[in-house]
Each structure stands twice: as C-alpha cells, then as structure tokens.
C-alpha cells in the first residue's frame, strides 16, 4: 500500500515540479518583456539587459537587491537591469509596491525597504496609472510563468 501512496505522491510532485517552469520561449518572453519595459524601474546603462520580477517583502528578492546595490558600480556599468514588482500573494506587498511606484526617488525607496529594511509609513495611493502598471506587469508575468521571486531573465531565459 505504501508503495502505491509513494508512487502517487512522486507523480504529483513530478507534475507539480513540471509546472514550475517558464511557459514561454525566449523569443516570446523577450516580446512580452518589451511590452512592459517602460513600466520597469531601471538601474544601470550597461550593454546587457536583465529583467527581474521581485517582491519588496520577499527575503530572497531582498537578498538579490542587496547584492545589486553592494556591487552597484560594476552592475550599472555592465548591465541595464529592469525591475518589475510582482506581488507574492502571501507577502501582501501590494500597497508597498504601489508606494514604491509612487515614490519620487524609486531607487532610493527600494534601498530603504529592501536593503536597509526600514519601516516606512505606507498609504493608499489610489492612482489608476499605477494600478494599470501593476496589472500590466502581472498579466505578462503570468504568461511568462513567473513562479518565484526573484525571477531573473537573461536573453529571454529564466532561472
């Protein structure tokens, strides 16, 4: 009996694991990212383009951003990094994302929130443009199959 349960469990895990993958081809991914590039917060002016889907409250995304700022000079010279805020539902970060998009100095705020982990008073923004921006990103993210944060894409391929 336990063998049957184990096999079913294994198959379930396998199918589940298979789901966790990029859903679009590199070419399709690049096309989708081009559509939302203007909505991204961009760091650096380097020759190589990097697209990253992050959540401000996700510890892994925070680790990623921390490294980005730690090696900021090198990263800015070499890469153009587009940051897309895409909420992890369990983190309930929607309001923070809205506040970051609304901030006068977005990069400074990202640093405060994600690197320095400062407690920032956040408020309801109620800006339709921001809502539209977040939605636009979310639609493309779902199409691409962004299943984790940070979701880093280079040359249309994610890891």
């Amino acid at each position: 009996m336990h063998r049957v349960i184990f096999t079913i469990l294994f198959c379930f895990l396998f199918v589940y694991a298979q789901d966790k993958r990029q859903l679009t081809t590199p070419e399709e991914t690049i096309a989708l990212l081009t559509e939302i590039k203007t909505e991204a917060i961009t760091i650096g002016k380097g020759s190589k383009e990097i697209h990253s889907f992050i959540d401000p409250y996700c510890s892994m995304s925070q680790m990623y951003i921390k490294h980005l700022f730690k090696n900021q000079k090198r990263m800015e010279e070499k890469y153009t990094i587009h940051l897309y805020f895409y909420e992890l539902k369990r983190k309930k970060s929607r309001l923070m994302i809205e506040n970051i998009y609304d901030a006068e100095n977005q990069i400074f705020m990202i640093k405060q929130v994600m690197v320095e982990k400062q407690k920032i008073d956040i408020e309801e923004i109620g800006d339709l443009d921001i809502d539209e921006k977040i939605a636009k990103i979310a639609v493309r993210a779902e199409k691409i199959g962004v299943y984790k944060r940070p979701f880093i894409i280079t040359n249309g391929k994610a890891k």
Partner: protein
C-alpha cells in the same frame, strides 16, 4: 718553439704573477653573491612555458603552502576560529596578493523561502552567516581540496609575486610552510669555498708533501674562477652562474692544473732542473689544447638550446676552458718557476708499480666476464631508459598546477577553452580536483537546475550576471586572465598532467613557479641527452683525427660508455628517479672523463706506441705520467662534489653526489680498463 715560449714566460714571471693577482683582486670586487640560492630563475629562463607566459605579459606566481596538521573532518570550533584569524592575518599581508584556502573557496548556495529562492556564490570569509563554523560543517565536502585526508592536514596556498614571502605566522596552532627561505647565501658560499680551499690544500699537501702544490693550486683556482665568473657576467649582462656551472668550470681547469703540476713535479726526477718546465709544457700542451677544444665544441651545442641554464652552462665551460688554457701556460709556469723540487717522492710511483703489475698479469677470463656483465647492464639500461619516465622534483614540489587561459571574461569561448583543457587532463586518477570559473558555473547550474550541464545549452550571460552579483569572477582571475587550479594526486601525477598539457594544442600557459620549473627541467633533459651523445662523438672524432687508428676510437667509446652504464645500472638498481640533476652530473662527468681519455690516448699514442703487450715500461709510464695525476685530480674532484651535499639544496646535493660517483667510476674505468684495451688492441704482438 715550446722552449722559447717557456723561456719567455720565465723571464716575465714577476710581471705575469703580479698583473694576474692584481687583476683578480680588482675583478673580485665586482663579483656578486647568490651562486647557490638563485638557481630556479636560471632553470626557467628561456624555457618554453616561461616564454609563453612572458609573451602574454604575465608574471610567474610563487605559491607557498602552509600546512596545518589538523583534520578537516574533526576540526573543532576553536581550531576553526584560529584558522580564521590566521587567514585574516595573511590576508592583510601586502606581499600576498591572493590566498586559496577554505575561507576563500567560492561555492553556490541555494537559499529557499517557500516559493522563493535565490542562488549565490558564497565563501566562508564573506559569508553572512552568524555561525560560520556551523556553515562550514554543513558544507564540509566542498573544501576537500584543502585537505589531505591521508595525512590529516589542512592547507592554505599563498600566492605572491615575491619568491621569499611569508616565513612566520603568529599562532599557537602547529604549522609548516613549504619551501622556507634559505639562510643567507653568502654564508653558504663562504662555507663552500672554504671547504673547497681546505680540501684542495690538504689533499695536495698529502700527495706532494710540498707547499708549492697547495699554494699554486689555490692561486690558480682563485684566478681562474674570478676571471671566468667576471667574463661570464660581462657576456650574460651581469648574470651570475649557477653553482653547478661554477663547479664544472672549476673542475675543467683543475684537472688540467693537476696534470701540469704533477708532470712538472715528477719531471724533476728524470730531467735537469733547467729542462723541467720546458719538458712539462711540451708534454702537456697538446692534450690540454685538445681537451679545451673538445669541451668548447661539445658545450657549444648548448648555445642552440632555448634554456638559459644550458646556455650559461655552455658559455661558462667555454670561457673556463680557454681561461684555463691561457693561465695553465702563463700564470702556472710563472708560479712554478719560483719552486724547485729536490727529491720528488710520490706515493703514486708505488701505485703505478702496483697497477702495472695488475694490468700486466690481468686475467683474461675476468676481463671477458666484466665486459659480458657490462653488455648485460647496457641492455638493461637501454631497455629501462626507453621505458622510463623522467622525474622532476623541486624544493617546493607542490601538487598544485596553476594554468592560465588566454581569456579575461566569463564568456562561452572562455568556458569552452576550459572545457577543452579539462578534456585533455580528465578523466584521470591523477587529478584530485580542479577549480576554475567553469567549475563554479557548473556547480551554480547544478544548484539551480535539474538539467544536465551541457555547455552549448547554457546561458552564459545569466551566470556572468549572477557571479557579478556575488562580487564578480575576480577569484578566478589573476593579472587579467582566467586561472585554472589543478590539484594533482601526487608529484608523479603532477608530472603526467604537465606532460599532457604541454603536448596538447590548447593555448594554455603554466603560471606557478613550481610547475614552470618542473616543465623547464623536463625540457632540458632531452637536450642534455643529445649533449652527452654529442660529447662522446666529438671526443671520438678528435681521437680519430689525432691517431688515425680505429682501435683508439673503439677504446674511447668503451671507456666513455662503461661509467655511464654502471652509473645507470646503479640508479635503476636503487630505484632512483631519473632527474635532470642526473643528466647535469653526467655532463660534468663526461667533460672530465673526456679530459682523462684524451690525456691517456695522447700520451699512449705519442710515447707508448712501440711497447709490447708484455712490456712493463709503457704501462708503467702511462700510469706514472697520466694515470696518477688523473687519479689524484679525480679524487680531489670527488671530494669537491661531495662538498655540494652540504648546501642542503636538494638539486645541488643530488648533482654533487651523482657527480662524485660518476667521476670515480670514470677514473676507475680509465685506470683498469683502458690500459688493458691498449695492450689488447694496440700494443705490438
């Protein structure tokens, strides 16, 4: 003509002596030290691998290994923290530009938080973990290249552009640093020169029971060595010769000195005092001129070699031979003209009598048996030489090979180049671990993905970005080029890996000094084998031209080959590794043996040709005028070579020991075999 020349020298003996000594005194001040210690650079200069490195505008790296006798598996928290303190101490040392240790080794760690994950390269030194010891314990398998499980020790590799960097570490933990700095070379050299002088003085005094011998010998040797070294420095742009080269040049001139002095000394018994010097010069000039020519022509072959070590060996021997020739017939007669021997008494006369009896009544069966044994040994040696691999040991003898790839960034091309390099050396039991950016990418891929690592399929930009996030690929770059660290199983494995790398067509360059040195030494072996054969060929040609008799040619070949066969049999019998030092010793021995051969053959051809096989006088004279001085000279040289053992530098010690054995084997062959061959092949029936 010889009489006129000798009289000319005698008339100007004071001016010759004073000017020679004055010039030597002046030149001695321009001499630098470091004949003993500074020999690694001599070996690598001009070598194939070193030239490749220089063409890339790269410098050699000196790697020192610090060994802590603690086990990686059983490392306690206290020991770990102490190692961490040592790492911090070493990291702050200006002379060390890089440390390869368990604290600097980067490996990928995948951090997971529910449906989020992030993989990054971490090292123990920059890890954000609160408890680094626990983190180390958790990832202990990653650090196995810094541990020698059999010997239970942890190693730090310290990289520097200076040869003699770190010597001491302030710690209570026991440690050992490989290749420690030698004591001041000057002290070693003074000891060696003092030993050389005392050996010469004592043996010559005992042999001749007369102060003229040690006095003239020490003046002659000092003048020859100073002139030779200074002239070498002028030609080679201020360089100093390697100690073995210096000793070889000393040997070349000393043998001829003893030959002349002995002849002068013994001539007092047979000739009038006024004739002694003329007779001596007449008897010795031609063979010494011939030996000078043979050594010069033979060693000139090395001028075509790429190796600086072999080129300097060549130049030094040529200079020493010619300076020796000039001084032997100017300064030496000038000095000797001040002395007179009233009653020459030599132990050698008794020895000559004893040897003559032995040779006259030699047992043909024993001789045949001896040649049969030599023939068997010869076959054994040739078979072994054909199969054997050469072995190179250095003072450092590190198992690490640092290889440079001509790429400076993490790209598909650079990864492909490293993959090609790995295909050349792997799969192999010789390789314990390889560390490079390729391996880091592979490990990162494994941490991130379940798919197999296929270079063509991976997105290099992704890894480049991720590595830049973790601080870049500086860990894998030295002087702007990507580095591959190959940890070999043992020194034999290292040699095999180096051979594979050198034979491959991949554009890789060896970077660490120890491996460069081993490669350079391996390169010189082939050239040295050619030189040994060439020297035998040259002496054979000269003998043929001089005597126009095939029998002399056969004798020359036999007496040159026998010591080599016996020596190699001994080497194989004792399972000694075939090293470049063995070949250097053989070159030294061949040069000396050629001197002896020429002296014997010249004398026999000129003076003993008419003696019959049963006649006593010919062989007795041969022993008295040639055999004895050569025996004495070779005994002195054997002592001089044995002095090199006290330098405590493995390669020089080996050269000293092997040369001493070879010189003795050579003179024994000359004394016991050559006269028998003269009687058998040349003497009238």
């Amino acid at each position: 003509m010889m009489a006129d020349f000798t009289q000319w020298v005698q008339r100007r003996r004071i001016i010759l002596l004073i000017s020679s000594l004055f010039l030597t005194f002046i030149l001695a001040f321009s001499l630098r030290s470091y004949y003993i210690g500074d020999h690694d650079t001599h070996w690598i200069k001009g070598s194939k691998e070193y030239v490749k490195l220089q063409n890339m505008q790269q410098n050699e790296v000196f790697v020192k290994k610090v060994i802590f006798p603690v086990s990686l598996e059983d490392l306690t928290r206290d020991e770990f923290e102490e190692l961490e303190n040592i790492y911090s101490y070493l990291n702050n040392k200006e002379e060390i530009f890089k440390i390869n240790s368990l604290f600097t080794y980067a490996f990928p760690v995948k951090f997971v938080d529910e449906d989020s994950s992030f993989t990054q390269m971490v090292t123990l030194s920059d890890s954000q973990e609160q408890d680094r010891y626990s983190f180390f314990k958790k990832n202990i398998q990653k650090f196995k290249q810094f541990n020698n499980s059999e010997k239970e020790r942890i190693c730090f590799y310290l990289l520097s552009k200076e040869k003699n960097h770190i010597e001491k570490i302030p710690t209570n933990l026991p440690y050992h640093i490989t290749n420690p700095k030698k004591k001041k070379n000057e002290i070693e050299e003074i000891k060696l020169l003092l030993g050389l002088g005392i050996t010469l003085f004592v043996i010559l005094l005992l042999a001749f029971k007369n102060f003229s011998a040690p006095l003239t010998a020490i003046i002659f040797v000092a003048v020859t060595m100073v002139w030779t070294t200074v002239l070498f420095g002028w030609i080679m742009g201020g360089a100093t010769p390697h100690i073995s080269i210096l000793i070889l040049s000393f040997c070349v001139s000393l043998i001829d000195y003893i030959y002349i002095y002995y002849n002068w000394y013994i001539s007092h018994k047979y000739y009038d005092k006024s004739e002694v010097l003329v007779k001596t010069i007449d008897r010795t000039f031609v063979p010494i001129l011939l030996t000078t020519l043979i050594n010069s022509i033979g060693f000139a072959l090395l001028l075509f070699s790429d190796s600086y070590m072999l080129q300097s060996l060549s130049i030094m021997v040529i200079i020493a031979s010619f300076i020796g020739l000039i001084l032997n017939f100017t300064l030496l007669p000038a000095m000797l003209s001040f002395f007179t021997i009233n009653s020459p008494s030599l132990l050698s006369e008794k020895i000559s009598g004893f040897l003559t009896r032995k040779i006259r009544y030699y047992n043909p069966t024993v001789v045949k048996l001896f040649f049969a044994v030599i023939a068997i040994f010869g076959i054994y040696v040739i078979a072994n030489l054909y199969q054997s691999s050469y072995y190179v040991k250095t003072a450092q003898s590190s198992r690490l090979i640092k290889v440079l790839v001509n790429q400076s960034e993490l790209t598909a091309t650079s990864l492909q180049e490293i993959e090609n390099l790995l295909k050349t050396i792997e799969p192999s039991d010789d390789v314990v671990k390889v560390d490079s950016v390729y391996h880091a990418v592979k490990a990162f891929h494994k941490a991130q993905s379940n798919t197999p690592f296929i270079l063509e399929n991976i997105d290099v930009d992704h890894y480049s970005f991720m590595f830049d996030l973790s601080g870049g690929i500086d860990k894998y770059i030295e002087e702007g080029k990507l580095i591959v660290d190959i940890h070999s199983k043992n020194l034999e494995s290292k040699k095999r890996i180096l051979n594979k790398l050198r034979k491959s067509t991949i554009p890789v360059v060896v970077k660490d000094m120890d491996s460069l040195l081993q490669s350079a030494k391996l390169d010189t072996i082939k050239v040295m084998i050619i030189l040994i054969l060439f020297m035998i060929a040259v002496v054979s040609i000269i003998v043929m031209l001089l005597t126009k008799k095939t029998a002399y040619l056969v004798i020359t070949l036999i007496v040159n080959v026998i010591p080599l066969v016996l020596f190699f049999t001994l080497v194989y019998f004792l399972s000694l590794p075939i090293t470049p030092e063995i070949f250097i010793s053989m070159i030294i021995a061949i040069a000396i043996a050629n001197d002896a051969t020429i002296h014997f053959i010249y004398y026999h051809h000129r003076f003993c040709g008419s003696f019959t096989a049963t006649g006593r006088t010919g062989i007795y004279e041969l022993f008295t005028f040639v055999g004895s001085p050569l025996l004495l000279g070779n005994i002195i040289l054997a002592f001089v070579f044995l002095l090199l053992v006290f330098t405590h530098i493995p390669s020089i010690t080996a050269i000293g020991l092997f040369s001493a054995i070879l010189v003795l084997l050579s003179i024994l062959t000359d004394i016991f075999i050559m006269p028998i061959l003269f009687l058998k092949l040349i003497a009238k029936k």
